[in-house]
Amino acid sequence: MTPQPDAALLDVRDLVVPVVGRRRRRRARTPALNGVSLQVYRGETYGVVGESGSGAADLARAITTPATRTAGQVLLDGVDVGDLDAPQRRRRIRMLRPGHDHATVAGLLVDEMRSAGLPEPDEGELRELVAVVELSAGVLRRSTQELTDGERRRVDVARALCTGPDLLVADDPVAGLDVTVAAQLLDLLGRVKVGRGLTCLLVARDLGVVRHLSDRVAVFYRGRIVEESPARALYRGPLHPYTRALLSAVPVPDPEVEDRRERILLTGDPPLAADPAGGCAFQPRCPWRRPERCADEQPLLRTVGVAGHLVACHYSEEIGR
């Protein structure tokens, strides 16, 4: 999918989201998202990668729940999602996440459509929906508790699709799943998004999962995008030191590769790093850190190499070699 600059479906501008909950006291000065801008074009899948504390999950939440942000804009087709009324927002932006409701599958789907302000679906529509996620019509009358893990996740996909959304936001869809069940779900998502021409924002901790489905990928670190790139270019030649460390940390199921690999081991971990005063957020852990600029000057996203490959690092050209 080649992005068309005029067709940004989702346009996030300088989004700031504060940290919620218990973490607030400890890190009140560092927001969960600290001025994030990104565009998701119609029909593409935009992958967001980040470890805990990166803000990737907060991005997913801020898009579906505008009340969480304190600054910035989230535009869907040029209209701020905060200005859409709730049913309309629920219809056009859908979140894919594991549901734990105890109800029949048909009941769940009807509820979802009603809360999005749609007319009650008839039996035919429901059958069609479960057929899309490759389940038999018999599943409609069954309770979610009777279903297997894999079936339940397919029902989650059906719940996300039932309103005919413009944008699908998937927050770590395969977290905690067995490898074989996760593979089935990823294949299904791939087929569904191509079949329906869906635009997706996919948040995941697993770089392999993101690579499998995404056209473009953004890597988050401490509330900022540190690298954004077409998926191909990112996995072939990561430019930011953090992306390189992240890629090198993912285990590959091949002993030949594992034995030869060079690991970039990071020390410490993001949430406890000292608040950098204006400098690069990754600098305290960066193996390529230099005394000159890293500690005092915040690196901005800039194009390096191919068009559309953005990186926020002062020295990425030198590191790349």
Binding site: S52, D149, T180, A249, V250, P251, L265, T267
Partner: protein, 324 residues
């Protein structure tokens, strides 16, 4: 031989419900200093197996039979007091969640020195020094200050490393790690795996590690056991297992992982269903309902064990060795 597990069976019994066979006759060996992996999905019995080796399963409602020989002594026949004596000194465990495995109301120091004094008979002051050394070894930034820290004051990664320090404190000859990196970030996972590998190399302890992730196993374990439905379906040295997986389940598991090396695969799902779809081993192959290579015989006869060519294989219709 350090650890010999023979025909281990773990059966969960609940009143009014049929028995659940979690581990169904598993035998394997761990030699001193070796790293052995147990790989399986949920329902494969890997955690029950690790818990049975540690004798950490509750007595009520669980029936364990077979033999777990550590240096020739059957752990299953020991009294609870004798077992308590061995835990931490001869064998110790790294649990899945460091949040619950460390005592939340005791600082790290006493948890470490307690283990050191008990298992290595150290006096108070040397135990304290040894504890600082241990924390430093596992990479806690300020080891002396770390002694006074409560588990909740540490970050996730530091907590995992502290847990490993506690487990290694008694210099056990066998470490049992049950999903040591589940729910950790990838960069943290890499740190923990590296630490475990180094510890094994330095202390000469053996490591028995369970995981659901073949990627974790590939770089860490010398011998890999693949579990399905409570039995080992394939076992081989890691280069052989990953190079030519023969069991259709192993083959499918490898194909199901979205990989970062090489071009992206067009499709991942090569195995349908989930780990809970299985037949009883007694007169079938448990994997048959999900297997793409299943023959009529697979649902009628339990597959025999083939141990030729340095590999254990339990399959009627294995993937040909040349197909890769």
């Amino acid at each position: 031989m350090l650890l010999e597990v023979r025909d281990l069976r773990v059966v969960f019994r609940r009143r009014g419900q049929p028995d659940t066979v979690a581990v169904d006759g598993v035998s394997f060996d761990v030699t001193a200093g070796q790293v052995v992996g147990l790989v399986g999905e949920s329902g494969s019995g890997r955690s029950a197996l690790a818990m049975a080796v540690m004798r950490r399963l509750p007595r009520r409602g669980v029936h364990v039979e077979g033999r777990v020989l550590l240096d020739g002594v059957d752990l299953l026949t020991l009294s609870e007091a004798e077992m308590r004596e061995r835990r931490g000194r001869d064998l110790s465990m790294v649990l899945q969640s460091p949040r619950s495995a460390l005592n939340p109301v005791i600082p790290l120091g006493p948890q470490l020195t307690g283990a050191l004094r008990r298992h290595r008979g150290m006096a108070k002051a040397p135990a304290r020094e040894a504890a600082v050394e241990l924390l430093d070894r596992v990479g806690i930034a300020d080891p002396r200050g770390g002694l006074a820290a409560y588990p909740h004051q540490l970050s996730g990664s530091a907590r995992s490393r502290a847990l490993i320090a506690v487990a290694a404190a008694g210099r056990p000859r066998l470490l049992v790690a049950d999903e040591p990196t589940a729910a950790l970030d990838v960069t943290t996972q890499a740190q923990i795996l590296t630490l475990l590998r180094e510890l094994v190399r330095e202390t000469g302890a053996a490591l028995l590690m369970t995981t659901h992730d073949l990627g974790v196993v590939a770089g860490t374990c010398e011998t890999v056991n693949v579990l399905y439905g409570g039995r080992i379906v394939e076992r081989a040295q890691r280069h052989r297992l990953f190079g030519t997986p023969r069991h259709p389940y192993t083959h499918g598991l490898l194909g199901a992982i979205p990989r970062l090396d090489g071009p992206p695969a067009p499709a991942l799902a090569t195995i349908s269903g989930s780990g809970h779809d299985r037949l009883p081993w007694a007169d079938a192959c448990a994997f048959a309902p999900r297997c793409s290579r299943a023959l009529p015989v697979c649902t009628e006869v339990s597959p025999p064990v083939d141990t030729s060519g340095g590999r254990l294989l339990r399959c009627h219709n294995p993937v040909p060795a040349s197909a890769e």
